[in-house]
């Protein structure tokens, strides 16, 4: 009886293990192997390439542009989504919102529910040079000279895409932070209030330190998201004009399916994998030591 009980839990793991093995680990290993070959999606022949694909990736003219764009996306997202999102969460949980608290929360969260492609299309219309909402609004306000070909200008394209993501995901981080704030034991806040701490003091000295873990998790999610960036760019500019809004994800995709360079795409995949895994490891290490 005892023996059977010990085995039983493993039966339950098998389906999950099977799925993870076949859909996560094996593809990752295959991808790693592919990155050392020249191959295409429709051809059966593979040619060994050594580090050729990696050299091509790192010496490419667009490589610095892609890294810059991905990093810019991460930095701006950290400031806006995590920073600003936390402030909104604190405000939502304060007395200011009153009875409409739930309404506000839903309004902020709503954009996160729309599909990425739909948002991409929506913003293509907003940024459209002639009939777009943004330029029309600027013209209506008499700011004619500020109108731009937003997605058609190499200097503004990537920032327009980043702005779009901020609109979409700030509410998501806000919601995560709201949950964390709600988990703070009321006693702490009441005790602080009795000691004479105002709302601002309570937020800075009690709430934020107590949601430190969640803040860190949100930051990690945001940074990892920034390096996996794909749909937002693909559905608006596809990396253009020129290569000005190119990012790692789109570069991978275009090489795999447009230029028949699966090996180079796999190498790009490995790079993204290494970046995201490193960030995840940092997260695990820091959260372990960061117990409150």
């Amino acid at each position: 009886m005892m023996k059977r009980k010990k085995l039983v839990p493993y039966y339950y793991i098998i389906p999950g293990l099977f799925m993870v093995l076949f859909f996560v680990y094996i593809p990752v290993i295959c991808n790693f192997i592919y990155s050392f070959f020249h191959l295409s999606s429709y051809s059966s022949t593979k040619v060994f390439a050594g580090f050729d694909n990696y050299i091509k990736l790192f010496t490419n003219d667009t490589f610095p542009i892609m890294m810059k764009n991905n990093i810019m996306y991460a930095v701006i997202s950290l400031i806006v989504q995590v920073g600003f999102g936390t402030v909104i969460a604190l405000l939502l949980e304060s007395k200011l919102t009153g009875r409409l608290r739930n309404v506000y929360r839903n309004i902020y969260f709503l954009p996160a529910l729309i599909s990425l492609t739909a948002v991409g299309l929506l913003f293509t219309f907003i940024y459209s040079p002639d009939v777009g909402l943004l330029n029309s609004a600027l013209r209506a306000m008499g700011l004619e000279n500020l109108t731009q070909s937003w997605l058609g200008n190499s200097k503004t394209a990537i920032y327009c895409i980043i702005a779009m993501s901020q609109w979409q995901f700030t509410g998501y981080i806000t919601l995560l932070m709201v949950v964390a704030i709600q988990n703070i034991p009321r006693d702490y806040l009441e005790a602080a209030a009795i000691d004479g701490a105002g709302p601002f003091r309570r937020a800075v000295n009690i709430m934020i330190p107590l949601v430190k873990e969640q803040l860190l998790v949100c930051s990690i999610i945001t940074i990892i998201g920034a390096f996996k960036l794909f749909t937002e760019v693909y559905s608006t500019t596809s990396g253009g004009p020129g290569n000005s809004s190119q990012v790692l994800g789109v570069y991978l995709y275009q090489n795999a399916f447009l230029h028949d360079k699966m090996g180079l795409a796999a190498a790009t995949g490995v790079l993204i994998f290494i970046i995201t895994v490193t960030i995840s490891i940092i997260q695990i290490v820091v959260t372990k030591s960061g117990k409150v």
Partner: protein, 435 residues
């Protein structure tokens, strides 16, 4: 209570798993189950928009009615996704039997891998088939002597112009480049946008560059450079072509790179610009966007250069047969019908597209279409679409650099330097690498 919940959950899980299993096997059932006696031919095309999709469905239904033993399963995808999907399925067991493929490099790489069927013999042995199609157009689907596809829709690029705007400003159709610039200048002076142009998707620029290269670059050099193994792009005329392109930039509408091609077409249809460099297949769209638009078309203005000005920019688009099809004869038979004159007549009447069938415009009254057909019919040689003729990495470099050039971010010299670099890489790798 807890136990019961667990049991319910377990049952639910099994249901979900079973459901997903049946979902997986469903696709097989369709082809093997009820139509067991019928031969299934899978057709994959890239015209999911209306009215084109319904037209294809209708033509297929008529064929099935005449051939009770054949079942044609049609699927489709939009332009860009189509390119990706077909590349993934073409090497697999699920490859469609008859599928859309661009002529030139796009198809030829499949041909090199032995994935699409060589139709030369069947075509040459069938005099009736051979005589029913326009030879100049069919030749676009040849690689050397090998015929690998049949055109489904013919196409070429022409400069469309608004007749009313030209009349009001006493302008004549410009035959040469200098006259063309004069016309642009005159329109600009009247505050009319001379040329409507949207390059957000980057391919429209390649049609300008393609036409300019044809005029300026020696034809043998041009053809040699299109081959990945020999392409150098060192001829100074390529640089000249870019400089000619630069001359046009002031006459385009603003924010070219922020405007998709179809919006630029719409601007032309709404008379917001005097000219538009468009494909003949767009006549149908223009009629839909503004049926009252009074427009005509003229050839790309002539430039004195080393090239061949008789080349017509463009290429037909057509269908090929998979080399791994279970029913080669039936597939060819269907292809013959699908791209033949009988369908061609209906095609031009119903959706305004031509195929390579001879005599398809009989009884056609639409003057625009007749004019367009005459352009294509009288062309001796087509040049192919520039981006589709190029090796994909070179095409990509051309498109991204031209987009920067259009924004004024780089110079023509820098563009050519980049292209020569990528061409060199392509030369080095095309010998060792699987393309």
């Amino acid at each position: 209570m807890r136990r019961r919940l667990g049991r319910i959950f377990g049952v639910l899980l099994i249901v979900v798993m079973l459901f997903s299993l049946t979902a997986c096997s469903k696709s097989n059932d369709v082809s093997n189950g009820e139509d067991k006696e019928k031969k299934v031919i899978k057709l994959f095309h890239r015209f999911p928009d209306e009215p084109f999709n319904s037209f294809i469905e209708k033509i297929v239904a008529e064929y099935e009615a005449d051939h009770p033993d054949i079942d044609i399963v049609v699927s489709s995808a939009q332009n860009q996704p189509y390119k990706e999907k077909i590349k993934v399925v073409v090497g697999s067991k699920d490859c469609p039997d008859v599928f859309f493929s661009w002529s030139g490099e796009f198809s030829e790489r499949f041909l090199r891998e032995g994935l699409i069927m060589d139709l030369t013999e069947s075509f040459n042995n069938d005099q009736e088939w051979k005589n029913s199609l326009l030879e100049s157009q069919v030749n676009e689907y040849r690689s050397g002597d090998i015929l690998y596809g049949i055109p489904f829709r013919l196409d070429a690029k022409m400069m469309f112009y608004n007749i009313d705007i030209f009349k009001e400003n006493n302008l004549e159709i410009p035959k040469t480049w200098d006259k063309f610039i004069e016309v642009c200048e005159a329109l600009e002076a009247k505050d009319i946008t001379p040329i409507s142009y949207g390059n957000q998707d980057q391919w429209p620029s390649s049609h300008y560059i393609g036409s300019l290269n044809q005029m300026l670059v020696d034809n043998d050099t041009r053809l040699k450079d299109l081959e990945p193994a020999t392409g150098e792009f060192t001829d100074p005329n390529y640089l000249k072509a870019l400089e000619y392109y630069q001359q046009l930039i002031p006459y385009f509408n603003d924010s070219v790179n922020g405007l998709p091609h179809d919006m630029a077409r719409n601007n032309f249809a709404q008379e917001k610009a005097a000219m538009f460099f468009a494909e003949l297949v767009e006549i149908t769209y223009l009629a839909e966007e503004n049926p009252d638009l009074n427009y005509g078309m003229f050839s790309f203005p002539l430039i004195e250069g080393e090239g061949d000005p008789t080349l017509l920019t463009g290429s037909p688009e057509g269908f090929v047969v998979s080399a791994n099809t279970k029913y080669p004869e039936e597939s060819i038979e269907f292809l013959k019908y699908f791209t033949g004159p009988e369908v061609g007549k209906k095609e031009v009447q119903e959706v305004g597209w031509f195929n390579a069938g001879i005599g398809i415009v009989e009884g056609l009254e639409d003057q625009k279409l007749l004019e367009a057909y005459e352009v294509i019919k009288s062309a001796k040689t087509m040049s192919g679409w520039f981006d589709a003729s190029l090796y994909s990495t070179i095409a990509n470099e051309y498109l991204t650099s031209i987009s920067d050039l259009t924004n004024g971010d780089i110079t023509p010299e820098e563009v050519m330097e980049k292209i020569q670099k990528v061409a060199e890489e392509a030369r080095n790798t095309s010998s060792t690498e699987v393309e």
